[in-house]
């Protein structure tokens, strides 16, 4: 009896020490989960989720503070990817934060722009070029479509416009004639193939 207790105590001590050592020796710096979540988020940096950027939102999700359905630019795809990563069920986008919209970029009406630099200060990715009392313009390829520059403009010269589709960005559509639509099958062969 005593031997068993002693042996178990010794083992418990040994493993405790081992675990303690491992916790110190193999400590992972930073939050690897937040990093993975951040990699899934679209990096629009729009703040619609209520956090100041994608990274803080990723950290909030990682700590269990926020739901995964607060990213309108990412939409359903991002929610599904996050659900996959975190092993939870996908939930519909929180209506409170906004709705999923097609990708747009900011366009400055250069005739109206007064060069106040307010939009430059608002842009989270430095995608607006200009200087005080000089015309501003948006670098289209770097715009994330966050809409943060629209609000501060005192002369309302910024509009969000859809990106022009070209042959380099065109995608083949999902095949329409999927086998899930057996309606066109001739009536002479009912149940010829089980679907």
């Amino acid at each position: 009896m005593l031997t068993a207790i002693l042996a178990l105590t010794a083992l418990a001590l040994l493993f405790g020490l081992l675990l303690g050592f491992a916790a110190v020796r193999f400590r992972v710096e930073g939050d690897p989960l937040a990093e993975k979540i951040d990699a899934i988020l679209p990096q629009t940096q729009c703040g619609q989720c209520g956090y100041p950027g994608c990274r803080p939102y990723a950290e909030a999700i990682a700590s269990g503070e926020a739901e995964i359905n607060r990213c309108p630019p990412g939409g359903e795809t991002t929610i599904i990817a996050l659900a996959d990563l975190l092993g939870c069920d996908p939930i519909p986008l929180d209506e409170e934060v906004g709705e999923e919209k097609p990708f747009t970029v900011a366009v400055i009406d250069e005739k109206t722009c007064i060069g106040c630099t307010l939009c430059i200060q608002a842009c989270p990715v430095d995608a607006i070029l200009g200087a005080a009392k000089q015309m501003h313009t948006v670098i289209e390829s770097e715009c994330t479509g966050c809409e943060l520059c629209v609000e501060p403009c005192p002369v309302d010269c910024i509009t969000m416009e859809p990106v022009k589709m070209d042959i380099f960005h065109w995608k083949w559509p999902y095949p329409e004639q999927s086998e899930e639509q057996p309606a066109k099958r001739p009536k002479s062969q009912p149940g010829a193939a089980a679907s």
Binding site: Q45, G53, A193
Partner: protein, 552 residues
């Protein structure tokens, strides 16, 4: 000597339909009123216009310059005036418009001055490649990869240069007719390419359904020892680069590699002819041979067509369309795609226009569920599992499709051809490929945005820290200055005090009159009285004193 041939996996034998368009010799197509030249006619970066609207251009004059390494220039295919540089419909499965240069031809068809630079043997190989690049030559087999890149041995020893005259796709006969009618031009081009690559041997592969072409090429190469014409048994898709290499040499090309890595380069026979014209005659690539065929066109034939000719003009020259035409396909029935309009111009990669009736191509019939028969896998020339790829593409599991090597698929269409359930397999694979590319683009964009956001954040933090540091420094400087100022003040106060004391002393001295010695008693009394009066009115005196002190 009978050469040993190998076999690639799978392949099919679709009906050939090649006779119709080989009954007539190649005819020169008429110059249309308007030439529409898309800026993107090849794989790689689009060319950039180097002419202005209203400018008169001559035949063969460069009108768009290449941008970047993988790109090709575009030349005017006839003389005329540039009337527009705008978006026009181009041959693309999307049916979308893209930037084009529109030339209104003047009917003179006047060439720009051109002449060969030197015999090719005297031209240095890198300069030779430059000449080929400047002539706008891209692969004429259908993909349109800039040819000069594939003529760079890049430090490798090139064992074999293969000229692809296989033309395995049904209906197409443009390479066949070129080999029959002009084998010498192909041969001349082959020698230039061999020189550029320093290839040990040249193999010209022709399928055995083109005996006349084989005979013509055989005859032309009768005296050559290092150029061999090889007849290969007909099998679709033998014209695929990697498939042909396997058949001729038995070598397998690595999945994500180039034939160059195994010492082999493959070019199309028509590309060879274009290189011959560029180097030996100094003519840039401005036209190509196109097969116009199918039961939907009245006079199927091959034409030598200037680039930019609208498809409708070409169909008109072939007697027009019949009533029962179902659709117009650019390319062959296996790999081509249906055109949305006949206003689309002909480009460098257009090898065939197929005016198909319902009998020519299987119309998309009702799709039935996959029965897992495995026929698709048995015909796949790259040994993929089309059935698995289909499941994953359908379920949008793109990662899985990549695990099953989706990007090795050459979209030859064998799997869809044999599928008993009519599943549009190639459509699924193209869908999955473009979706994956789009995801990659999005990921790149997100990474860029993250990087820029982080940079901005760090810049803002740095600026804040700098501002704070500046303020702190200022404060410290102010604090350091304070005691000094106090000291100075104190000095000043001391000086004032000293001066006041001095003045007081002086006043006292003055007040103590000089004639106080030897005073009489009465005088002394008077003085004492005055002093006592002064003492009684001490305040005004002090005030006077103060005033006096301040004045000093």
């Amino acid at each position: 000597m009978i050469r040993q041939l190998w076999k690639f996996h799978g392949g099919i034998h679709p009906p050939q339909h090649k006779q119709a368009s080989t009954q007539q010799a190649i005819t020169k197509a008429e110059i249309p009123r308007h030439l529409v030249l898309p800026l993107h006619q090849h794989i790689g970066e689009s060319a950039e216009p180097c002419v202005a609207i209203g400018e008169h251009v001559l035949k063969g004059q460069p009108i768009a310059c290449p941008q970047g390494y993988i790109s090709a220039p575009i030349h005017a295919s006839s003389s005329g005036t540039v009337v527009a540089i705008e978006d026009r419909l181009i041959p693309h499965p999307s049916g979308m418009s893209a930037p084009c240069i529109v030339i209104e031809t003047d009917g003179e068809d006047r060439w720009i001055e051109h002449s060969p630079e030197a015999p090719y043997t005297e031209i240095e190989t890198s300069h030779l490649r430059n000449l080929i690049r400047n002539a706008g030559i891209v692969g004429l087999g259908g993909a349109g990869f800039p040819s000069y890149i594939k003529l760079n041995p890049a430090g490798k020893v090139i064992d074999t240069l293969i000229l692809n005259g296989v033309e395995c796709e049904p209906y197409m006969t443009c390479d066949d007719m070129l080999m029959r009618e002009n084998p010498q031009s192909i041969l001349a081009g082959a020698r230039i390419m061999q020189h550029a690559l320093q290839a040990k041997q040249v193999l010209i592969a022709i399928e055995d359904n083109k005996p006349l072409a084989y005979d013509a090429m055989q005859e032309a190469t009768a005296n050559d020892t290092d150029i061999e014409v090889i007849q290969v048994p007909t099998l679709y898709p033998q014209g695929g680069e990697k498939q042909l290499i396997k058949v001729l040499t038995g070598k397998e090309c690595p999945s994500d590699g180039l034939p160059l890595q195994i010492g082999i380069v493959v070019h199309n026979v028509a590309t060879a002819a274009a290189i011959h014209r560029a180097i030996d005659l100094g003519e840039p690539m401005i036209s190509r041979i196109v097969t116009v065929t199918g039961d939907g066109v009245r006079q199927p034939r091959n034409l030598d067509v200037p680039f930019g000719t609208p498809m409708q003009a070409l169909l008109d020259q072939c007697g027009g369309l019949t009533e029962d035409v179902d659709r117009i396909i650019m390319g062959g029935p296996m790999m081509g795609f249906a055109m949305h309009s006949t206003d689309i111009p002909l480009v460098k990669t257009t090898n065939c226009i197929l005016a198909a009736t319902k009998d020519n191509v299987t119309p998309p019939s009702h799709v039935m569920p996959c029965i897992r028969c495995g026929d698709c896998a048995s015909v796949c020339p790259v040994s993929l599992l089309p059935q698995q790829l289909h499941w994953f593409s359908r379920a949008r599991e793109f990662e899985k499709t990549q695990e099953y090597n989706l990007f090795d698929c050459i979209e030859c269409g064998c799997c869809a051809y044999v599928c008993p359930s009519n599943i549009p397999l190639i459509h699924y694979f193209r869908y999955a490929k473009t979706e994956i590319w789009a995801q990659e683009r999005e990921k790149e964009k997100a990474d860029l945005a993250r990087q820029r956001h982080d940079f901005r954040q760090s810049r803002i933090d740095r600026e804040k820290a700098e501002k704070a540091a500046r303020l702190a420094k200022k404060k410290a400087a102010l604090a350091a200055k304070q005691p000094a100022a106090d000291k100075k003040d104190a000095d000043k106060q001391d000086a004032i005090k000293a001066a006041m004391d001095r003045a007081k002393a002086k006043k006292e001295q003055q007040a103590a009159a000089k004639n106080t010695d030897n005073l009489t008693e009465a005088q002394q009394k008077q003085i004492d009285d005055a002093d006592s009066r002064r003492a009684a009115t001490a305040i005004p005196t002090a005030a006077t004193d103060d005033k006096g002190g301040q004045n000093t």
